[in-house]
């Protein structure tokens, strides 16, 4: 009966094992799987990272002024990642043929709205001087043609159908530029209103 008492009291005289985190820090090893970084120059838009992701957290956005629904533009698409669905398994890093997508040691994920967790490739750019910042509304507008938002709320799908019809008809040459811009502005304001109502924005 005495030896348990002897063993526990011996711990009082040793230095505690605790690390007081805001004042002292722990070092993360290399190879830690945190938030992604994408090099948009070397990325070739092959689409393998989106196919291999088990949770389907990666979908593609196109630069401004290009038709998202034209198969000839597929090499211009870049991955946008939904960090809320991502499980940080690093299968996308393994499968990328040009080593453009990598997982870094950054792990702080915070934001006030749901849209803060969906990151565009230009925000995750690995060359820090080329990194761009977007406001919430701009980010939502760029993501309208992807699956990442319509998966959260299916009512957005009807708005996306309208957007798709207008865009395809503009790029086919059926409507003029002013008509296109006014129709797009109307659809986008309805889309942002819907997102605010659902709670994403």
């Amino acid at each position: 009966m005495l030896s348990p008492l002897r063993r526990t009291i011996a711990y009082v005289f040793r230095r505690p094992f605790t690390v007081m985190i805001p004042r002292e820090t722990l070092e993360l090893p290399d190879g830690y799987r945190g938030i992604h970084e994408i090099n948009t120059d070397t990325c070739i838009g092959c689409g393998l990272c989106g196919k291999i992701c088990p949770n389907k957290a990666i979908d593609y956005v196109f630069p401004e002024g290009k038709n998202p629904y034209d198969p000839k533009n597929f090499r211009l698409r870049r991955p946008a990642i939904d960090l809320g669905h991502c499980m940080f398994c690093a299968l996308c890093e393994e499968v990328c043929p040009t080593n453009s997508i990598k997982l870094t040691k950054e792990f702080q994920l915070y934001g006030k709205k749901r849209i803060d967790l969906i990151r565009l490739p230009y925000e995750l750019e690995s060359r820090k001087e080329k990194r761009k910042e977007y406001s919430r509304d701009e980010r939502a507008k760029m993501l309208i043609s992807t699956e990442l938002i319509s998966r959260i709320s299916p009512e957005v799908k009807q708005i996306e159908e309208k957007w798709r019809k207008v865009t395809i008809s503009y790029y086919n040459g059926e409507i003029s530029e002013e008509e296109y811009k006014s129709a797009i502005a109307k659809i986008e304001s309805e889309y942002l209103e819907k997102l605010r109502e659902v709670g994403i924005l």
Binding site: S3, P29, L91
Partner: protein
């Protein structure tokens, strides 16, 4: 009855095809010849209008696995039960009814186990749509303790029902235990599971073979590496692929480290149940932190790793990590002596754990215990020795066996297993050969059927994969050891006091993720 025998380096496999009426005589014959019952797997073939049931039995003496295949009509599948010969098959039959609609005749009432009692439809059938059940409604009828939904309980003299409910400090995980108590003695106890069922087996049918690896390690979050390793070994055995030597060494080392980590977590969760005011919890968790740091260096994550790949491992090991492993194992030795001093020389601990929760002898085989619980019951059986995989055939280690079958012997078996794992790692750590660690495997068109068994820290786990061409499997089934160990609680509890319930439940080593899947 057709019979087919296959011989491989891992042992003999006997595949039988029988009709549904012969299953009872086959089970009694196999019980007499000391075989244990592993599980029932059901596969749905809508085009041929049949449901196929496969019963797996494993021998305790040599390394034979016996398959018994039955074919049932899809409109009205009926099979006689074997739950009076093997009481451990009770929950497997209920699961087959719940997910496939197979009806077992001649037993007590068949109730759903993983889904709520008023669910409509059978999810794992291929034509299930999920539209019939109203998702937004609450369960309208509850299952009263020890009675059916329709009749109410009759309160007898001095008997009352105690619910150790889903929110309780002692149940590790989310499940419910219904106790029938008279005074301070337990008369009956029934567990009730299914609170965190996620349908992992159905999800696997929609993913590639590579994408299933991170999903399979989330089956049990306490020891994820052993489940993804089990799946990867199963697929490699199906394809006939042999990974390089360096990968085999690294895999064995990492698997044994995971075994030590899982047993430390069990030790930390078991002692507060008896009342030590959490001092053993903190010592065990502090010990485990050092092992999690090693895992972070190797794989990049602390709890969920995504490390094994079909054809090898995903990252390499460097020299600094090897030194850290050696240092940590030396620390573990000295600390294990301290923990034994605190617990073994403590008379209160001995008084509370000796002679409590006894299940041994033939009863242990009939109720389907595996793993440390079976070794504490007197059987010298370990899958690593009986049908070896990875590098275990060439290694020198022992299997601790105790005869009493109570809570104290299960505790002793796990402490000694930690020492044996440390011995295995020390044999391998300096001999890792140089070379490549991953081989490319073609997964475009996979065909075949395999059942692979390994030794999980909790018992014997098995994966069954059926592949009919293409990139995605047709059926994947995981057999978890904690599922059958938990159902044996119905045999271990009656006759004890309410205070012993905490010790018995803690000694089984539960991880609810693998019970519910």
């Amino acid at each position: 009855m057709k019979e087919e025998e296959l011989l491989s380096e891992r042992g003999k496999e006997v595949k039988l095809e029988i009709s549904p009426e012969e299953i009872r005589s086959l089970s009694s014959k196999l019980l007499k010849e000391r075989h244990q019952f592993l599980g029932i797997t059901a596969v749905d073939f809508p085009r041929e209008n049949k449901i196929e049931l496969i019963y797996h039995f494993a021998s305790l003496e040599d390394s034979t696995v016996i398959w018994a295949r039955l074919e049932l009509n899809r409109e009205s599948p009926e099979v006689p039960t074997i739950s009076d010969i093997y009481p451990g098959a009770d929950w497997h039959e209920r699961e087959a009814y719940d997910l496939f609609g197979v009806i077992f005749t001649g037993r007590e009432e068949l109730r759903r186990i993983l889904l709520p009692d008023d669910w409509i439809g059978h999810p794992l059938r291929k034509d299930y749509s999920g539209d019939e059940y109203d998702w937004q409604s609450q369960t309208k009828e509850f299952y009263y303790p020890f009675g059916t939904v329709k009749e109410k309980i009759k309160e007898e003299d001095g008997v009352f029902y105690l619910h150790v409910g889903p929110q309780h400090p002692v149940t590790h995980g989310l499940w419910r235990l219904q106790l029938k108590v008279r005074g301070d003695t337990i008369l009956e106890g029934t567990p009730d599971i299914g609170y965190i069922h996620c349908g992992i087996e159905k999800l696997c049918e929609g993913l590639n073979y590579e994408q299933i690896v991170p999903l399979s390690e989330r089956i049990c979050y306490g020891s994820g590496m052993s489940w993804s390793m089990l799946y990867v070994l199963g697929v490699e055995s199906l394809l006939g692929v042999e990974p390089p030597e360096r990968a085999q060494y690294i895999r064995t080392i990492v698997l044994e480290l995971q075994r030590i980590t899982s047993h430390l977590l069990w030790l930390g969760a078991f002692c507060p149940d008896l009342g030590t005011y959490h001092s053993m919890l903190l010592y065990a968790i502090r010990e485990r932190e050092k092992f999690l740091d090693i895992f972070e260096r190797i794989t990049g994550g602390r709890l969920l790793y995504n490390y094994p790949r079909i054809g090898g491992v995903s990252r390499d090991i460097d020299d600094r990590t090897i030194e850290k492993i050696k240092e940590t194992l030396k620390d573990l030795e000295s600390h294990l002596e301290e923990y034994e001093d605190i617990l073994d020389k403590n008379e209160f601990f001995l008084v509370r754990t000796k002679g409590v929760g006894v299940l041994r002898g033939e009863e242990a085989i009939r109720w389907g215990l595996t793993g440390p619980c079976l070794r504490a019951a007197g059987f010298k059986y370990d899958v690593r020795k009986n049908s070896p995989y990875l590098l275990y055939a060439d290694l020198d280690f022992e299997i601790p066996v105790y005869k009493e079958g109570d809570v104290y012997s299960r505790y002793r078996v796990r402490i000694e297993e930690m020492r044996e794992s440390s011995k295995i790692i020390n044999q391998l750590i300096d001999e890792i050969p140089k070379g490549e660690y991953r081989k490319k495997v073609n997964l475009r068109n996979v065909e075949g059927e395999i059942a692979f068994r390994t030794e999980d820290p909790r018992g014997e786990s098995m994966v069954y994969i059926l592949a009919k061409g293409g990139e995605k499997p047709y059926r994947v089934k995981f057999r978890s050891p904690a599922y059958m160990n938990l159902s044996a609680l119905r045999r271990m509890l009656p006759g004890h006091k309410v205070a012993d319930m905490a010790a018995i439940v803690g000694s089984i080593d539960l991880c609810m993720g693998e019970v519910d899947r």
